[in-house]
């Protein structure tokens, strides 16, 4: 079979490199570790941003979360007996937010309480969230069984309850619980569905956002919650009962366009400042999390990128060094080739192919090493790492470039050799 000229040239290069196997291998090491670190860096960085995106997805990417916060003064006062803390979001806040911004697509308020509950023989204190059907669109969760809240439930003010997987586990509910009655506080609710739980919190840099349905056990309609349980809660603590009046604990706001999220969030903040004397609320923007994550990733990439860049540079210099020595060693060969009729650029080409074969082989081995590092990182630290095509092709093309770039000088050096001088060279 006839080889193409290019394949033949590469094969000749490989043959020459194989004459000095150890030397070629050692020369390659620099590129191996350089490329390895680039691959590892990219997959760790990619993993970090994927993690951040995943968290934002859980939070709802176009959402703004407004929550009630008990201020420090309130916290101090609440230890005194018979004091009732009044703070947090109001029904009026919800109405204002829902009506004042043109880019707000929908909103969902939440009232969070703890209630002693009973299902069959099992009694537990459950975290109960009173909300409206929109909640399940803003914080989409997979329905495991039954259904979620519907506008019908709101209209009829029926006492229905949707358990989360988390709550279902606590109170020993199963799919067959659907249709049965659960007692929450002192009242009877019909279990109509079970939804999947997401837990944890999203964090990037100094921003930390609780996932809205963190540790929710059961959802009930807002109107029912308001009517049955009111706005005043009694918390049992070691020093006695604490009473709080909180109308709404959370409002989730969905913005129709991604690039309007921050503007709307700023508007909400201004509005809240205007109507609340105390800062008994917090506005969090999951999107800011993403920006923070991206900024972190950029910094990360710059730092790791320079380390990887330096090791690639060192690798390249290593190749250049060895190739210069090789050129000197092969001066006579170059002279012979030139005498036979090889042009300067053909000598350049020959040496360039050798350096490129070296650096590319180093790059391929480096890919293997680089794929191993993220694997170990994931194994030992649990950090998510992701290999992408970009993460493979970029280091490979870098290694080819290194070969050409750092091979150029030795190759030019080789081509400058005068045939008559080279032939006399011993």
């Amino acid at each position: 079979m006839r080889q193409t000229r290019f394949a033949r040239n590469i094969w000749l290069g490989i043959e020459n490199l194989l004459l000095h196997k150890l030397r070629s291998f050692l020369t390659m090491l620099g590129v191996v570790f350089g490329v390895g670190s680039v691959v590892a860096m990219l997959s760790v960085g990619e993993g970090a941003s994927k993690e951040a995106l995943e968290q934002i997805r859980k939070l709802g990417s176009n959402n703004i979360i407004v929550s009630s916060v008990k201020s420090a003064e309130e916290e101090a006062l609440s230890t005194t007996h018979s004091h009732m803390s009044i703070y947090g979001l109001l029904y009026e806040d919800h109405r204002r937010i829902a009506e004042s911004f043109s880019h707000v697509k929908q909103t969902a308020p939440a009232k969070i309480m703890r209630k002693d509950s009973r299902l069959g023989e099992k009694e537990m204190e459950l975290r109960v969230v009173g909300t409206i059907p929109q909640w399940f669109e803003l914080v989409p969760r997979e329905v495991v069984a039954g259904r979620v809240l519907l506008p019908l439930d709101v209209a009829q003010k029926t006492p229905v309850a949707i358990l989360t997987e988390y709550g279902a586990r606590k109170i020993l509910a199963t799919e067959s619980t659907i249709g049965q009655t659960i007692r929450i506080g002192g009242d009877q609710f019909e279990v109509i569905g079970i939804v999947k739980s997401e837990s944890g919190q999203a964090q990037a840099g100094n921003i930390q956002i609780q996932i809205p349905d963190q540790e929710v056990d059961v959802y009930i309609p807002m109107e029912v919650a308001r009517r049955y349980f009111g706005d005043i809660f009694t918390k049992r603590t070691s020093s006695g009962d604490e009473r709080e009046k909180v109308e709404l604990h959370q409002i989730i706001v969905e913005v129709d366009e991604g690039d309007k999220v921050e503007a709307v969030a700023a508007g909400i903040k201004r509005m809240m400042e205007q109507f609340h004397k105390k800062k008994d609320y917090a506005v969090s923007v999951p999107l800011a999390l993403r920006k923070q994550a991206e900024a972190t990733k950029r910094r990360f990439n710059i730092v790791l990128g320079s380390i990887a860049g330096i090791s690639l540079l060192v690798g390249g210099i290593g190749i250049m060094n060895i190739m210069l020595a090789s050129v000197t060693e092969r001066t006579r060969e170059i002279g012979i080739r030139r005498a036979i009729g090889a042009k300067r650029r053909q000598i350049v080409y020959q040496f360039l192919i050798e350096t490129t074969v070296l650096s590319t082989t180093g790059g391929i081995i480096g890919l293997g090493v680089g794929a191993l590092i993220p694997f170990l990182i994931t194994y030992f630290s649990g950090m998510i790492t992701v290999m992408t095509w970009k993460g493979i092709l970029l280091p490979l093309s870098i290694s080819v470039t290194i070969g050409i770039l750092f091979g150029l000088y030795p190759a030019m050096h080789a081509a400058k050799v005068e045939p008559i001088v080279a032939l006399r060279h011993e």
């Binding site: 080889q3 006579r332 036979i340 009729g341 090889a342 053909q346 008559i420």
Partner: protein, 241 residues
């Protein structure tokens, strides 16, 4: 200076006109060629002789297009090559010239076959044709059974045969031999010279550089160099005009 008129223009293969080659040695100028005018005919067999420092090696480098003149003219097959650039000279060597050296100058990591194929590689032949040609040439120089060997596994005589094979691969018009028997024993040297004589009879122009008159005796014409000039010319004047 000895001037030779050229009666038959078309038959001249090389022609030097007042060829000078000056090297700068520190502050001193050394005239390796101090104005040489000579021409060789196609199919001739020349020996360039002279003591070391006489300019005979410079003469060969110039004629072999390995080096360029400081002044004067060099015509190869009627073409003025004294002003050609490096690439064009490479091209001339590749297509028209062949070289044999005292120290054989084989590439050690390549097999006999690959050494012979080297000019064909630069001529752009494909591997199948090259292999075919290398095999024919190896037969011709008596190395048919050594194609797969490396130079280090061969005797001096065999290595020089490989070198001759390589020089012949591109079917050159002129074969240059720089002390071709210098590293060989007398018997082997004799065989190599016989091979050159045979090639000359087949029509190749051969130019040998040597300081030994026994070797030069195989040539039909001798050019004696001294201090960068032609000292005298011996041989058949019909050929050495």
């Amino acid at each position: 200076m000895i001037e030779r008129a050229c009666s038959q223009e078309g038959k001249e293969i090389v022609k030097l006109e007042d060829a000078q080659k000056i090297y700068q040695m520190g502050t001193q100028e050394v005239k390796a060629l101090a104005g040489v005018t000579v021409s060789f005919k196609r199919g001739s067999f020349w020996a360039i002789m002279g003591p070391s420092g006489s300019g005979k090696s410079t003469m060969m480098n110039i004629l072999g297009c390995l080096d360029r003149l400081s002044s004067g003219r060099y015509y190869l097959e009627g073409q003025d090559v004294s002003t050609l650039d490096d690439d064009s000279l490479s091209e001339l060597r590749l297509r028209h010239l062949g070289f044999i050296f005292q120290s054989f100058n084989l590439i050690p990591q390549l097999t006999v076959q690959r050494n012979i194929e080297l000019p064909l590689y630069y001529l752009g032949w494909d591997s199948v044709q090259s292999a075919q040609r290398a095999k024919e040439i190896a037969e011709e120089v008596g190395l048919g059974d050594r194609l797969g060997h490396r130079p280090t596994e061969l005797s001096g005589g065999q290595m020089q045969r490989v070198a001759i094979g390589r020089a012949l691969a591109n079917d050159p018009q002129i074969l240059f031999a720089d002390e071709p028997t210098g590293n060989l024993d007398t018997t082997t040297g004799e065989q190599i010279l016989e091979l050159l004589v045979k090639l000359n009879k087949q029509g190749k122009t051969i130019i040998i550089v040597t300081h030994e008159s026994t070797i030069a005796d195989h040539a039909r014409n001798k050019l004696h160099m001294l201090d960068g000039r032609i000292d005298r010319i011996e041989g058949n004047s019909n050929e050495a005009n």
